[in-house]
């Protein structure tokens, strides 16, 4: 009985010591804070880049799908066919290979010249990756808009691009906003692989602590909890967003 109580006390003391060792000593928690900052930086940058790329690719793909059969042969049609081929190849390659492989190719092969700017390389790699998924989300949004909207725009005298810009895209984006927000949440977790290129993100912050203190449990658990809290927070936010969007339709 005595032994047992002692061991609980020991265990508690041990826990406290490990905690202090991993987070308090040498201000090691700052490694996590810095990592979290970079995780957000990469996620936000990649989301921004991904949406721009995604909208462009979605425009090419949906323009092709809607119009190619009605177009007269000529430069415009040829140009659209080429653009669509490029867009399709991009989607196939990006969605058909692992993110980690893409990241390493970006870091060790393509952007060797700017390899010291790991954050920028990661933003570009994750942005290009995310763009492929965002493109398909936005394309489904564009395709879901009633063709009558398009005709109404054209009948007022707007050209194709203006109709897309003022009438179709705003409605499409609003419809797919929850799906885009989910893509953002997925991206937060996905950026954890960027510690493979040595970027000091949240996961890497935990890894650095582990390598210095030779304890794995505390730093990795802390990293997991931080990811979980962030994801739960944004999931809640998306839920609220979805409800408000649904109400504004009425």
């Amino acid at each position: 009985m005595y032994l047992y109580q002692l061991s609980i006390e020991d265990w508690w003391k041990d826990l406290k010591d490990t905690f202090v060792l991993n987070f308090i000593a040498d201000d090691r928690y700052m490694l996590l804070v810095k990592g979290l900052g970079n995780t957000f930086l990469v996620t936000l940058g990649a989301t921004f880049l991904g949406i721009i790329l995604g909208v462009l690719v979605a425009l090419v793909r949906s323009t092709y799908d809607k119009n190619i059969s009605d177009m007269r042969p000529g430069f415009g049609k040829g140009f659209l066919i080429v653009l669509n081929k490029i867009a399709s190849a991009y989607l196939t390659v990006i969605r058909g290979t692992p993110m980690l492989v893409q990241l390493m190719i970006a870091y060790f092969v393509i952007f060797v010249s700017i390899a010291q700017h790991k954050t920028i390389v990661a933003i570009i790699a994750f942005g290009i990756n995310s763009g492929a998924y965002v493109a398909e989300i936005i394309r489904s949004g564009i395709m879901s808009i009633d063709p009558g909207q398009f005709e109404a725009g054209r009948s007022l005298g707007f050209n194709y691009a203006q109709t897309m810009l003022y009438i179709i895209i705003p409605q499409a984006l609003k419809n797919v906003l929850p799906a885009l927000a989910n893509e953002f949440i997925v991206l937060i977790k996905e950026t954890s692989v960027s510690c493979y290129i040595g970027l000091h993100d949240l996961t890497k912050g935990g890894e650095i602590i582990r390598s210095r203190t030779y304890t794995a449990f505390m730093p990795l658990l802390a990293v997991a909890i931080i990811y979980l809290v962030i994801v739960m927070f944004f999931t809640k936010l998306v839920g609220i967003l979805e409800r408000r969007l649904r109400n504004s339709e009425r």
């Binding site: 009633d146 009558g148 109404a152 009948s155 007022l156 005298g157 707007f158 050209n159 409605q171 339709e249």
Partner: protein, 247 residues
Amino acid sequence: MSADHLISVKDLKKYYNGGAIKALDGVSIDIDKGEVVVIIGPSGSGKSTLLRSLNLLEIPTSGTITFEGTDITSKGNDINKFRQKMGMVFQHFNLFPHLTILNNMTLAPRKLKHESHEESEKFARELLNKVALGDRADAYPSQLSGGQKQRIAIVRALAMRPDVLLFDEPTSALDPEMVGEVLDVMKDLAREGMTMVVVTHEMGFAREVGDRIIFMDEGRIVVEGTPAEIFGQTDNERLKTFLAKVL
């Protein structure tokens, strides 16, 4: 001379599936300024296709459409410029749900005719008052009834100050009690001298407001005449059968 007519359509054909389906099979009409032309006919007769061809929402297979002296079907012409002068009202309204009523009306004048905010808004409010919807300027389309939506669709087209208005079955998607308010707006417009081409099943409207009725069947114009000629004694069998069904 075709230049005397506002719109002049010559031998218009629209084929689908390489000629297997002839939606329009050689249609010619002239429409003059201030005229109200009503197109009637059974479903599938090509009347909507003809109307939608006038502003090239449907690209005709062959034939020409001359609008204010210019052949708009020839390749070099910018159709967007002509569409600004040809307002269109759709069966399903097609208001922009993400914009307020006011912005629905001012978007095109501001972006395409570079009118200022004040200018376009002033005119939009005038038009809204005309259709008794002045108090709904800041509402969204989803907050309006069908009849109100269609009246907004009409004034949205009018906000571009078009030379002609095209109506594609404007009352077909409305509840019966709302048909009257839309037809009243159209009657007012006709009285003010607006040129209108109307595809409709409302025979009462056709008889009362139409200057000229065009009866179409199987992609052709079968009979053309004044309301008195069409609804009076006609010896055309197809028109007789059609009228017997709808009257």
